[in-house]
Amino acid sequence: MSTSTPTPVSGPTAARVVAAEWTKLTSLRSSWWIAAVTAAVGGAITYLSAQASSVDPGFQPVDSLSTGLVLAPVGLLVLGVLVGAGEFRTGAFRTTFTTVPRRAPVLVAQTLVVAAFALGVGVLTTTASALGILPAATSRGIAVDLTAGDGPALVLGMVLFFVGMALLGLALGALLRRTVPALVTALFLVLILPVVLMIATDPLVGGGDPASMVASEAVPRTTVVGTLTVLTPGTAGTLMTTSPSSGGMDGAPDLGPVGGGLVLAAWILVLLVAAAVRLRTRDVR
């Protein structure tokens, strides 16, 4: 990928590097597939979930808005990993880093580009999700107003969740430089670790009887496992897609949407800095 230079004297400016990265991202077919599938699956799951819960007496359509996001992290993590590690995997980095020898601007540009693309995917999927809850809301005669109450915060949180997941993938890809290890790590952190931690606190999996379930109610408000769970990037990010008034998870400190967002941001920042350090100090092969 070349930054097109009209005259020999003009070098790779920040804007040009960003433009080049944008072209790279959008010229990949898989980017558009991920966007389309994420929005379609998100909308479909939201629709099914809203339909299922529309029979509940206390049904609030807006509560179903973020239910379709359970699978969304997969596509965004893949997108981020492909951008972050793709350079190294395909050998394209030799072109990239000989074109822009200072390297760090490339990582910054990739961050901006991935964030912008994920923002678009987020808006698209949130729109699909909003359409997904309409049939259920109409059937119950409830008007959907996303501009009132928790609505704006929820929509914002959802869109930021998309950006966060994609950037987490990017940071891991850029740090580990290989698709498979980066992908395994990302899926592990976001999807598998919370499940493992959940098993630690879920007596039913072990074949518990009702008595033991009662016993688990007596577990103190904040547990070690609960705290660990809420500090994983995926769970922290999911907090952004909950209403501020919905309260915290069982056994976990109540971080709220903002706190969850900060935890996720901290993960991304630490990983991106590590990737930048590796980029600067290690050879590119």
């Binding site: 979930s49 299922a52 359970v70 699978l71 997969v74 893949v78 990993v81 492909l82 698709t179 498979v180 992908l183 395994v184 899926l187 592990f188 999807l191 598998i192 499940v195 493992v196 098993i199 630690a200 606190t201 007596p203 039913l204 999996v205 072990g206 074949g207 518990g208 009887d209 008595a211 033991s212 016993a215 496992v225």
Partner: protein, 269 residues
């Protein structure tokens, strides 16, 4: 057209020879050894960690404590299988492999066998290390490993069987999709995420879907009491003792059949 030299006795391709070759290929990649080690550590580490949280009244058995690392270790088995199945195609080794064995199917068969053997050995090691790692927990609050508990011995065996099934499923997905990232994402969706998402929305439809996902193979690592509890809680079909194993075996066969079809019908790049 004759060979000019007096050629020595020339032996051709046979299934046993392809099997030896695939075993050499598997064991000659250092990354596979690291992967196996990581899988053992993940299994034992998870078992150790989860063992710390077992309370006397939980209704969890000693075999549960030992096999609880499966939830994490299965990712290692999946990756192992995917790398065997897809590695050929991403690295270009496929050109060499399938020019050497042009009938192709023996290669897939051999890959399945060596993956299964490697997964079995890794699973046995993981099981052994998990038993050792959970010894402190079992000496404390967690129950002792008592093989007379109904299904406990079967659960330990099931750990090995489920691990092999997940690894071979990975090989099938890798050979079918020919790219590790796609195969890995599909595998994680089928084995971990699908189960998790559906379990969050219990219902007749979702529980039925859940029963027919390959993640049902994880039932193999549960003892009788745990299986009974799972069957009591579900609104879908009750899979009983071996139902989960049958489901995952069916998945393995279907995916492998699809991979074999693609391998035979489609060009190798």
């Amino acid at each position: 057209m004759t060979t000019v030299r007096a050629a020595p006795a020339r032996t051709g391709v046979s299934a046993a020879r392809v099997l030896r070759a695939e075993w050499t290929k598997l064991t000659s990649l250092p990354s596979n050894a690291w992967l196996a080690l990581g899988t053992v550590v993940a299994a034992a580490g998870t078992a150790y960690g989860l063992g710390l949280f077992v309370q006397p009244g939980d209704g969890r058995s000693g075999s549960w404590v030992v096999t609880s690392g499966f939830v994490l270790a299965q990712v290692g088995f999946l990756v192992l299988g995917v790398l065997v199945g897809a590695g050929e195609h991403t690295t270009g080794t496929a050109r060499t492999t399938f020019a050497t064995v042009p009938r192709r199917l023996p290669v897939l068969g051999a890959q399945v066998v060596v993956t299964a053997v490697a997964a079995l050995l890794t699973a046995l090691a993981a099981l052994g290390v998990s038993v050792l790692a959970t010894a402190p927990a079992r000496a404390g609050d967690a129950p002792a490993l008592d093989l007379s508990v109904p299904g406990a011995a079967r659960a330990l065996l099931g750990f090995a069987l489920a691990s092999v099934a997940v690894a071979v499923l990975g090989t099938g997905l890798g050979a079918l999709l020919r790219r590790p990232a796609e195969a890995l994402v599909s595998g994680v969706l089928l084995l971990v995420v699908g189960e998790h998402v559906l379990a969050m929305n219990p219902g007749r439809v979702t529980d039925t879907l859940r029963a027919f996902l390959p993640s049902s193979g994880a039932r193999l690592v549960q003892d009788d009491a745990a299986l009974a509890a799972l069957d009591a809680a579900t609104l879908g079909p009750r899979l009983g003792t071996w139902g989960g194993g049958v489901v995952v075996a069916a998945w393995v066969l279907v995916v492998l059949a699809a991979a074999a079809y693609r391998l035979v019908r489609h060009d190798v790049r």
